[in-house]
């Protein structure tokens, strides 16, 4: 009997100890978060801010114990070199070696499109927050991909609405396009041309120019465009290519001669070209912090980002920060870090972001985020020009109709 009692006590201790161990291991299970961004290469200009914002968000969440207050986030950052093959290799490595449950990224839509099927195959969440080709979510749909950046269609439509208005006012009849020759450039240019045909049919496309991604010298393009004598030019050039293009075009007096409305001039360009950027340009951006300082989350983010990094956050920082918090809210709604549960929880859900309360559309997991158009002008509050007269084109007013997405997917099959 005594032996039996001892055994019961020992077993009880073992059981309690075991349960405690299991419980504590559950509590301590970190959430492995992968980041697949272009630390080097064409996209480096945008991605450094993105990485810094992710680190800031992770630091804030970890200060409260991590996701659900008990899953500290461990971040694994990889460099895609802005190359799709490298992005795929790194995404696979993040998934297989580092066991990440979610991959945040990516710069270059080609990279995003390339890693989407990898994440789907391994059932890992994928949140693109910089790259924005609509093909990331429109066709070959992956239920694991949630996009928190206004896509190329939404941005094109926002530009077109503004340009159509200007064309009517100014009597513009023709235009040319210049777009970087890769997934995003092609997708944005094609959407813009198609939508302009629809909203301003009197305006005709004269010629298209396709500088390769990574082009360093635009002189031949500039003179060739000027030779066309277009009423206006639509540009889809991003990151360091955009800096080179704008710097060289300005040296030609290009912007004084030809209207250049609605090209991508993100906060990065506003900051880096503060001294040289032509004032009065009508630009487009994806998530300007100054447009939402009335949202407490944005105000806090800007304050904390500035305190930590001693600079203002770019669009890319805002969107990567939102991506981390979108994931957090998905996990909270699911009550678990289990990827399948989080994926289902995010479907159609409304989340708080720096850009206000937004929702994921069910058909394509696209966040209902806005595009922003404004006039580049100096502002005494900032050491760089910002947008004045900002027009916010809401996501639901600019995204592709669901019927067209269904048709595009059917055609793809």
């Amino acid at each position: 009997m005594k032996k039996f009692k001892v055994m019961v006590i020992v077993c009880s201790f073992l059981l309690i100890g075991g349960l405690a161990t299991i419980d504590s291991s559950l509590a301590a299970e970190p959430y492995h978060l992968g980041v697949d961004l272009a630390i080097t290469g064409t996209g480096a200009l945008y991605c450094k801010d993105g990485v810094d914002a992710i680190k800031l968000a992770v630091g804030e969440i970890n200060a409260q114990g991590g996701f659900l207050g008990k899953h500290p986030i461990k971040v694994f950052i990889r460099d895609t070199h802005t190359k799709p093959d490298v992005a795929v290799r790194e995404a696979k490595d993040l998934i297989l070696r580092d066991k990440v449950r979610c991959v945040l990224g990516t710069y270059s839509s080609a990279c995003a499109v390339a890693i989407k099927p990898v994440c789907q195959e391994y059932k890992v969440l994928h949140i693109p927050a910089v790259s924005n080709s609509e093909n990331i979510t429109k066709v070959n749909f992956s239920p694991y991909t949630y996009q928190v950046v206004p896509n190329s269609y939404m941005q094109a439509k926002a530009v077109v609405l503004g340009v159509a208005e200007l064309a009517k006012k100014k009597g513009w009849k023709n235009y040319v396009t210049i777009a970087s020759d890769y997934e995003w450039g092609r997708s944005t240019q094609q959407n813009t041309v198609k939508l302009l045909k629809q909203f301003a049919p009197e305006v005709k496309l004269k010629k298209e120019f396709w500088p390769r991604l990574g082009e360093t010298q635009y002189t031949s393009y500039i003179t060739a465009i000027m030779a066309q004598k277009p009423d206006f030019v639509i540009g889809s050039v991003a990151s360091k290519d955009n800096v080179a293009w704008m710097k060289q075009a300005k040296a030609y007096g290009f912007f004084e001669k030809i209207p250049y409305p609605g090209s991508l001039i993100s906060i990065s360009e506003l900051i880096i070209q503060a001294k040289t950027l032509t004032r009065g340009l009508v630009g487009l951006c994806r998530a300007p912090f100054f447009a939402h300082l009335d949202v407490p989350m944005m105000a806090n983010f800007v304050k904390n980002f500035k305190a930590k990094y001693n600079r203002y956050p770019s669009d890319w920082a805002v969107m990567e920060y939102d991506a981390v918090y979108a994931l957090k809210q998905g996990i909270e709604k699911a009550g678990s870090i289990d990827t399948e549960k989080v994926r289902v929880a995010l479907k159609g859900t409304t989340i708080d972001t720096c850009r206000g309360r937004l929702f994921f559309r069910c058909i394509d997991n696209m966040l209902s985020c806005s595009s922003y158009i404004g006039v580049v002008a100096d502002d005494p509050k900032y050491p760089f020009p910002i947008y004045h007269d900002v027009v916010e084109v809401k996501g639901p007013d600019s995204w592709r109709p669901e019927a067209e997405i269904v048709a595009a997917r059917a055609a793809k099959k």
């Binding site: 630390i39 080097t40 290469g41 064409t42 480096a44 200009l45 450094k48 070199h81 802005t82 010629k207 298209e208 120019f209 396709w210 390769r212 990574g214 082009e215 360093t216 010298q217 002189t219 031949s220 393009y221 500039i222 003179t223 060739a224 000027m226 030779a227 360091k240 290519d241 800096v243 080179a244 293009w245 710097k247 060289q248 040296a251 030609y252 007096g253 880096i272 070209q273 001294k275 040289t276």
Partner: protein, 294 residues
């Protein structure tokens, strides 16, 4: 199509060609004299751009900052070239081509990481002085005044190299070394020192090219990979080791690119490769190369 446009496009092609010449001439010189195919040449070009940024950053309050930074960057690269030749390159002269390529390819990776450690991953931007920040007009067409400077530097380097190789004693020795190292050595001329000088000169030109490129756009990691292919096209068209060939090849590539943008924008890059492939088939040693080198 009016003459002013044709001229503007010609100038544009010429400036692109001169930029390529600055990159390719050092590459061609090193291969021509030392028989080393320096795969890392474009990486040194990029280092030149970063050096230029650093010097400019230190002197940005002065109007002459950019003008002084460019030669300083070139000289810095010459010093680096001297060091690398003595420490690394000298050891692979008698090795097979794959081993030389492996070494210079390894240098690309090392240089990439060193740039990351030294300058970080953020883009660097040089603000041009007012003199070269506005357009000049030819027949009523504007042209970026900075590229006039680029064209002048390109021609100066071409003439300077020609003068050096044809008119100076040291240049004669270098040219003689191309044909027979043994004979030059037998005359009591120290070949290693000649090679060190040539490698340093090649990197001086690479540094100059990088520094001249720096104020054109932003300076960022990966830029080197974008230009290296076109630089190789230039030396293939002109003929490896031929200065005149490199010069003509650069102008061909620049002008083909510029005018195809005008007439067939989608095919600009394709045309360059078609020209390169055609020359490789018809004249494998390039327009001004020698069959011996083919």
């Amino acid at each position: 199509m009016d003459i002013s446009l044709i001229f503007a496009q010609f100038l544009s092609g010429l400036s692109r060609g001169m930029m390529l010449f600055l990159i390719a001439s050092g590459l061609s010189l090193i291969f021509g004299v030392m028989n080393i195919l320096n795969f890392a040449h474009a990486s040194f070009w990029l280092v030149g751009a970063y050096f230029c940024y650093t010097f400019w950053y230190l002197m940005q309050d002065f109007g002459f900052g950019m003008w002084v930074s460019i030669p300083l960057a070139a000289l810095s690269l010459a010093a680096i070239g001297w060091f690398i030749e003595v420490v690394l390159i000298r050891r692979v002269y008698n090795r097979d081509l794959p081993e030389q390529l492996l070494l210079t390819y390894g240098l690309i990776l090392v240089i990439g990481d060193l740039i990351k450690l030294t300058w970080g991953v953020e883009d660097k931007l040089i603000t041009r002085p007012p003199l070269v920040a506005r357009p000049v007009f030819f027949f009523g067409m504007p042209f970026d005044s900075y590229f006039i400077f680029v064209i002048l530097v390109g021609f100066t380097v071409a003439v300077g190299l020609w003068w050096f190789l044809k008119k100076t004693r040291y240049g004669h020795i270098v040219r003689a070394a191309v044909f027979s190292r043994e004979m030059v050595s037998a005359l009591g001329i120290p070949i290693p020192r000649i090679y060190t000088g040539v490698f340093a000169l090649g990197l001086f030109i690479a540094g100059l090219a990088g520094a001249v490129q720096a104020p054109v756009g932003s300076i960022t990691l990966g830029m080197d990979m974008a230009v290296v292919v076109q630089a190789f096209c230039v030396v293939v068209i002109g003929g490896f080791g031929s200065l005149l060939g490199t010069f003509v090849g650069s102008i061909i590539v620049g002008e083909v690119y510029a005018f195809s943008i005008l007439f067939w924008p989608q095919g600009a890059l394709v045309l360059i490769f078609i020209v390169t492939a055609f020359i490789l088939i018809v004249r494998p040693w390039g327009l001004f190369g020698t069959p011996m080198r083919a």
